[in-house]
């Protein structure tokens, strides 16, 4: 079977990768009210790519020679917000799987979350934090929304740092309806405007999940000692990696993420730390079934 990680690395078609990851992963975010076609029928609407075939009304197709989908009555008020950290550091590649970056992995997982939300009939939106901008795709329902979100994700390229606190406060200003906020990033800047925004959202009783991505090389200190490195978001100083620096590096990194986990626990903010070399399905499962998931 094709490896989802390789698919994330090499597929430019997020929808395909999402279907691959979600195959057999029929778990939802929460218990939505929608029960499928024929239950508390609401209206017909034209078929859009991405709609499930089983929701197509075949009798209407026979009569009208057009595809229509039965929309069911629903009363889910949960909106899922997908927040993507697209700062330059998210371009960190896996040193083991060629072409796989944190950004590609985060895109895939957020797309999966979006697809699940769409399946459940929830509204979902996207916030891409990149440089001094936070691009927002407003939360809507339906397959077209999924196409919009996937297209936006596919277009997203990493660069710059994270937006400032003011911009984030304005962009992540959700209504008082309960929202599911899924943030994917590397959380190398913590505390940061993004972390403050997450804590603020959590304090507003939103269901905030943080997905912190690492690479295997980062976690184990397995960089090539013969190369020089620079921080993609730093001021351009050169750093070097060697066997003598490995222990110090691992110590500092561990201290940083321990502090991150401690802060998340303190603010009751579920945190999933994952390596991008892990299977996306398992990480998605861990993300959705964290404490608070239903």
């Amino acid at each position: 079977m094709l490896d989802s990680r390789a698919l994330a690395a090499h597929s430019t078609h997020l929808g395909l990768a999402v279907r691959h990851v979600l195959a057999g992963l029929g778990h939802g975010i929460h218990a939505g009210r929608e029960r499928g076609a024929g239950v508390e029928f609401s209206e017909y609407r034209a078929y859009a790519p991405g709609d499930e075939w089983r929701r197509v009304d075949w009798k209407l197709l026979a009569r009208a020679d057009r595809y229509f989908v039965r929309e069911a009555e629903r009363d889910s008020h949960v909106a899922a917000w997908l927040v993507l950290d697209a700062s330059a550091s998210m371009l960190e590649p896996s040193r083991r799987i060629p072409g796989l970056t944190k950004l590609a992995y985060a895109k895939l997982l957020l797309a999966c979350v979006g697809a699940i939300a769409q399946r459940q009939g929830d509204a979902f939106g996207l916030v891409v934090c990149r440089g001094e901008r936070a691009d927002v795709v407003p939360a809507l329902r339906g397959p077209r929304q999924l196409q919009r979100v996937l297209a936006r994700l596919e277009r997203t390229e990493a660069g710059g740092g994270l937006p400032g606190a003011e911009l984030l406060r304005a962009s992540l200003h959700f209504s008082r309806t309960p929202s599911f906020v899924c943030v994917a990033g590397d959380f190398l800047d913590w505390p940061s405007p993004l972390s403050e925004a997450l804590v603020r959202l959590r304090s507003m009783r939103h269901d905030v999940r943080a997905l912190c991505l690492h690479t295997e090389a980062e976690a184990e200190g397995g960089f090539d000692a013969g190369l020089a490195y620079r921080d993609p978001e730093g001021e351009g100083g050169i750093v070097r990696f060697g066997r003598d620096l490995r222990a110090g590096y691992l110590g500092k990194r561990e201290a940083h993420f321990e502090e991150l986990a401690r802060q998340c626990r303190r603010h009751d903010l579920p945190l999933v730390q994952a390596r991008i070399e892990q299977a996306p399905g398992a990480v998605l499962h861990a993300l959705l079934h964290q404490r608070g998931g239903r």
Binding site: E92, L188, D231, R240, G248
Partner: protein, 327 residues
């Protein structure tokens, strides 16, 4: 020390080549998200195999090469079969001997002096290994049989030598007597100079007063020792005193000029033997077989002048280029 050993200094050329390698900062740094957990480091200076200022490097390498070549005194075996002609040889004789030796086509080389074998010893390395050499002319016979690495055909022919010329300055009241003495000599042509000059080999001082301070000659014949204090305690030989002075060697005999012909001939023969050496004997014609074990003389320094000139020019160019670079 064999100058050819200097060629072993050629690796010195590697020094400027290494020094001129370009330094380059290791500017290729890959992004690393977790670089913040690593300490900052200075950019590495790496020398790469690309050279800065290649013209200056070339000059420096050539300068060192010229210096080593000058010290090693290289000789290029560029002469082939050659007919060596001693000066004064008849052209007909040269052609005849060349034809007899089958070397009509070989280039003729007129030697600078009469001693062809000594010249050949000094320049033998200039000849290719298989070159045949024909020596024609009046070649003085060396004391021992010469050994060469080449086959040398010696075709000597005595040339009746002109009587050697000697320049004499006479300061005497008995000038006619001295003229008669010098005029009666066989096989020697004596020129009496009115004023002594650089060619003057003998000064006859037959005056009681001291000679002028600046007057110098290899040999002085002095009749009155009073003007020459060096002769006071000089050793005596055959009734004659001799001593060395800043003016030259002094021979003193109060009885001079010689009264009889035998005494005059003996005096002149002694002068010629002691101050001019014997006349060389013409070597007999022979073929000297090549001797691989013949000692190879050091190079004659044929290229030394050119190499020295090249060295000076390169040095000047190198200095100028360095100066311009500093500015």
């Amino acid at each position: 020390m064999n100058p050819s050993l200097w060629w072993w200094a050629l690796p010195v050329l590697l020094l400027p080549i290494l020094w001129h390698r370009r330094k380059r900062e290791q500017d290729r740094a890959g992004p690393l998200a977790t670089a913040r957990f690593l300490p900052k480091s200075e950019p590495l200076q790496r020398r790469i195999w690309r050279w800065r200022e290649p013209l200056l490097l070339l000059r420096r390498c050539l300068l060192l090469l010229a210096l080593i070549a000058l010290l090693a005194d290289p000789v290029l075996p560029w002469r082939g079969a050659t007919v060596l002609v001693a000066p004064g040889s008849a052209p007909g004789l040269v052609e005849r001997e060349a034809r007899a030796a089958g070397m009509q086509e070989a280039p003729r080389l007129t030697l600078p002096g009469r001693d062809a074998l000594a010249w050949l010893h000094a320049h033998e390395r200039e000849f290719q290994a298989d070159a045949r050499l024909l020596v024609v002319g009046d070649v003085p016979m060396p004391a021992v049989l010469p050994r060469f690495r080449h086959e040398v055909i010696l075709r000597s022919a005595p040339v009746p030598a002109a009587a050697p010329e000697r320049h004499v300055a006479v300061f005497s009241t008995r000038l006619e007597t001295w003229r008669r003495l010098f005029g009666a000599l066989d096989g020697l042509r004596v020129v009496i100079d009115a004023r002594p000059d650089a060619r003057t080999g003998l000064v006859v001082w037959d005056l009681p007063e001291a000679p002028p301070a600046g007057l110098r000659a290899p040999l002085w014949w002095v009749t009155d020792a009073g003007a020459f204090p060096e002769l006071a305690n000089a050793p005596r030989l055959k009734g004659m005193r001799y001593a060395d002075s800043p003016r030259g060697r002094l021979w003193h005999n109060a009885a001079w000029p010689p009264s009889d012909a035998e005494a005059a001939r003996t005096l002149v023969a002694d002068w010629q033997r002691l101050h001019h050496g014997p006349m060389p004997w013409t070597a007999p014609a022979q073929v000297l077989a090549p001797d691989a074990a013949a000692p190879m003389r050091p190079a004659s320094g044929a290229l030394r002048a050119w190499l020295a000139l090249l060295l000076v020019v390169l040095f000047a160019l190198e200095r100028m280029a360095t100066h311009v670079r500093r500015r």
